[in-house]
Every structure is written in C-alpha cells, then in structure tokens.
C-alpha cells in the first residue's frame, strides 16, 4: 500500500447516451474507488446532463445508468462538484439534478450531501490542485 494519497479528479464533460464516455467514466470511478485515494468528481459543460433526474431509457433501448450515481456514496465517493456556469448555460438549476448523498457511518449513517455547486473559478482551482485528472 502506497503511503502517499494522491488527489484524483474525474472530469466529466460529455452528455450521457450519445457517446459512451459517461458510462465509461462511472465504471472507472467505481473500479478506482478500491484504491484508497482522494477522489473528486467534476461535472462540467455537457457533463452536467449526466446527473439529471427522471431519466427513462426504455424508449431508446439502452441501459439507464443514472441510478448508479446514487451508489457512489457506498463507494466512498463523497465529493461531487458541479459547475454553476455550465448549469446556467443550459437553463438548468441544481433542482434538475439528482440529490446525491453519502452516509456517515460514524454518525449513525447520517445522510450528507455529496454535490457541491462551484463557480468556474473554483472549478479551475480544483483542477489546479489535483495530482491526476482523468478526462471523459
């Protein structure tokens, strides 16, 4: 086991279903969660569309993987950053997105919010302080 904890940032910039990037990213995050690292997820540009509520893919014959984002807390992925400007450009607000939480085992499984709304400047800083950025 490595003693140095690195800051990993998964950068999601693609809409779901039109391309495979969103699902691939989610799978890599879940697999990567086994390695105790400092993991953050960023949703920027069309990536914010991945988190919309109420997705129903029965009509297009593809797997609806939006419920899987709700399992991220179980995988100890607790830091999910959504860029405010990206939402606004698309006419969206946080209310259009799933409410993602994680449970704090040390506080009798208290539910805590995973999503933080950040400005573009804050997102830039977050990218700047990350050791490794995985781009999807």
């Amino acid at each position: 086991m490595s003693a140095t904890i690195k800051k990993f940032l998964y950068l999601n910039r693609k809409a779901p279903y039109g391309t495979i990037y969103a699902w691939e990213s989610l799978e890599v995050v879940l697999i990567g969660a086994a390695f105790d690292q400092d993991v953050s997820l960023a949703f920027v540009d069309d990536g914010v569309y991945q988190l919309t509520k109420g997705q129903d893919t029965t009509g297009i014959g593809m797997k609806n993987f939006s419920p899987t984002y709700a399992a991220l807390g179980d995988y100890d992925v607790k830091k999910i950053f959504v860029e405010k400007e990206s939402l606004e450009e698309r006419g969206l607000t946080l209310d259009d997105l799933q409410h993602l939480t994680w449970e704090d085992e040390d506080e009798d499984y208290a539910e805590k919010d995973s999503i933080a709304l950040v400005s573009r400047a804050e997102m830039a800083a977050l990218m700047g302080e990350s050791d490794i950025v995985f781009s999807f």
Partner: protein
C-alpha cells in the same frame, strides 16, 4: 455454456454469470450452488435477495467491501463482516453470491 434449470436452458458467460439478469429465477441459484457443492440456507438467501434489491435500485453489482458495508447497515454488524460473508460464500461473497443472484460480475472486482 448454458445451465439447465427445471428443464429450461439459461445462457451464461464464460465465467458462469447469467447472460440476462431478467432470466433469473430462484432455481438458477439452486442449480449453481449444487454445482459448487453448497447447500443454500435462509442466510444465503438473505444475501442473494439483498443483492438483487441492490441491483434493482442502483443497476450495479456492488464490490465486496460495498456489499459488506451495506449488509452491515441493513442486517447488523454481526452479518456485515467478511468472516460471516466468506463463511456463507467461500468463493467470495460478492462474486459467488452475485452469480447465484443472476447479477453480472461485481463492478470493481478483477
């Protein structure tokens, strides 16, 4: 290779996981466990059913540590630990129980 359950053939992948999760019926778990020389008890079924519910909600088969934690929350710490779960499923609680439950191989397992 397909497995036969109650006279019906079920398609599986090269590692023995059911090809189509919607095909599953309890007989699948019975046949698979028999091949492993394991007799399924209520305790086994608790985990198998738990996994099917987990998949239903999140559309993934949980990794073993996630399963352990989730079982601990739902059924208590005496069941949510590796010793108990490996006691039930010696080939690995996530891998083996997921296979019996008709789920794909857990995400995050190699």
């Amino acid at each position: 290779m397909p497995i036969e359950v109650n006279g019906k053939a079920f398609e599986t992948d090269e590692e023995g996981y059911l090809a189509n999760i919607n095909d599953w019926e309890p007989g699948v778990a019975e046949v698979m466990s028999k091949e492993d020389d394991l007799e399924l008890t209520d305790e086994h079924w608790d985990i198998i059913n738990f996994l099917r519910e987990y998949y239903e909600e999140y559309q993934i088969a949980p990794a073993v540590r996630v399963l352990t934690k989730a079982v601990g929350k739902k059924m208590g710490k005496d069941k949510g630990n590796s010793k108990y779960l490996y006691g039930l499923f010696p080939y690995g609680p996530a891998k083996q129980a997921c296979r019996y439950a008709g789920l794909p191989k857990p995400t995050g397992c190699v």
